[in-house]
Symmetry: C2
Subunit: 238 residues, 2 copies
Amino acid sequence: MSLHGKILTEIEQNILSGRWPPGYRIPSEMELTVHYECSRMTVSKALNKLVQAGLLERKRKAGSFVTRPHTSSAVLEIPDLRQVVLGMGLEYSSQLLSRKQRRSTRDDMEAMRMDKPGPIVHVLCLHMAGQRHFCIEDRLINLESVPDAEHESFTEHSPSSWMVNHVPWSSAEHRIRAEAASEENATRLAIAPGFPCLVIDRRTWTGQLPITFVRLTYPADLYELDAHFSPSTIAPAT
Amino acid sequence: MSLHGKILTEIEQNILSGRWPPGYRIPSEMELTVHYECSRMTVSKALNKLVQAGLLERKRKAGSFVTRPHTSSAVLEIPDLRQVVLGMGLEYSSQLLSRKQRRSTRDDMEAMRMDKPGPIVHVLCLHMAGQRHFCIEDRLINLESVPDAEHESFTEHSPSSWMVNHVPWSSAEHRIRAEAASEENATRLAIAPGFPCLVIDRRTWTGQLPITFVRLTYPADLYELDAHFSPSTIAPAT
DNA sequence: TAGTGGTCTAGACCACCCG
DNA sequence: GGGTGGTCTAGACCACTAC
């Protein structure tokens, strides 16, 4: 592997593992050239790729910093539902409907794409936007990747908020569809069974390790998903 | 603007304008260093950003080539519906329901984000997957950006296929939601009014120029949208 | 104002692989 | 074999901005 590839990988792992948390100031280019015994260009190449990937922010004179919990960085955002609702100008609240802990069943393993069984947390949470039932969050969390979740009650912060703000991820998969509300969800969302809903399934990983699977069910017309995409927005870096 | 930014922009425009078509071999790094009177690193930086953007492919000894009609390159693909259906193992057919040409109305301009009126084509097309009504495509095309569309009947190829294969784009915006089928679409899709549908609005541009607006309406359960996303897939270039 | 990143140079060696 | 891109160096000057 190339030297700048090695530098990139090592720094990336420092970030994704949490050793270098959001806001952390990483060593300056000069310090890295010393550490890796290479020229500034080589270090710079690695760091700039990490900027493009959304893991770093760099400021002259200040240094290079790990970005805040990488929320979106790009295309399909992974938002904190609380922020979404507040952004709509509505009051937000959430209600934990259930919280279970268990060894993963076969269904769990399939949903999360786990390759071997392990302890998980299963939470169900209702999100409200003003008086409207906004979203049902049905989430599995892999306790091997996110051990902190074992002692988190999710009553103060919703699972959505907690995950966004505590857990970094390196890849995600979304599956989006329309669906008629099931009896169960219709009751939870105070809508008629069969009412159209937008359903988003999302899996996230750090490296090869599954973190969480979440199914978000929104009554139609309460939520739209936005995705901007510019492959050519390489915006010559000002 | 920086020099490599200028080089990047000029080459990008050569590609997006079609002057350098897919497969075209662009000048070598050496030729570009002569043309821009700069060092190889500077040219290289620009070219490698274009590789990341998916506009170029580079091969040792062979040279740098414009990629084939950039379909997805990443996250939210812009598929040819024909390929989608065939990929599901079903027979594909399409039927043009209407084709109109007009000067853009205020609604058209709003839909396409045009800032001044101009000639457009409005097509409506039904896509079938086997015996199932798969999707209604409701599309506006800006004739100023896509003059060829004026003399295209869209009977042999569906608008979706034609656009994907003929028109390059540089940025796209998706809006995705669930919706109850309108009376009109229910008839077209052979479903009951109120049946849940997945609706995707998509706008595409080349540079600042709007190309097309399309609304795709799928009956629930006939289609799911997939989106993979790895910000950290910066894969140290082999 | 000093330290940081942004940019650029003029070389160099190497791996690849088309012809 | 020779031209291509991939990588790297050891400098350099500049712009920005936090301190």
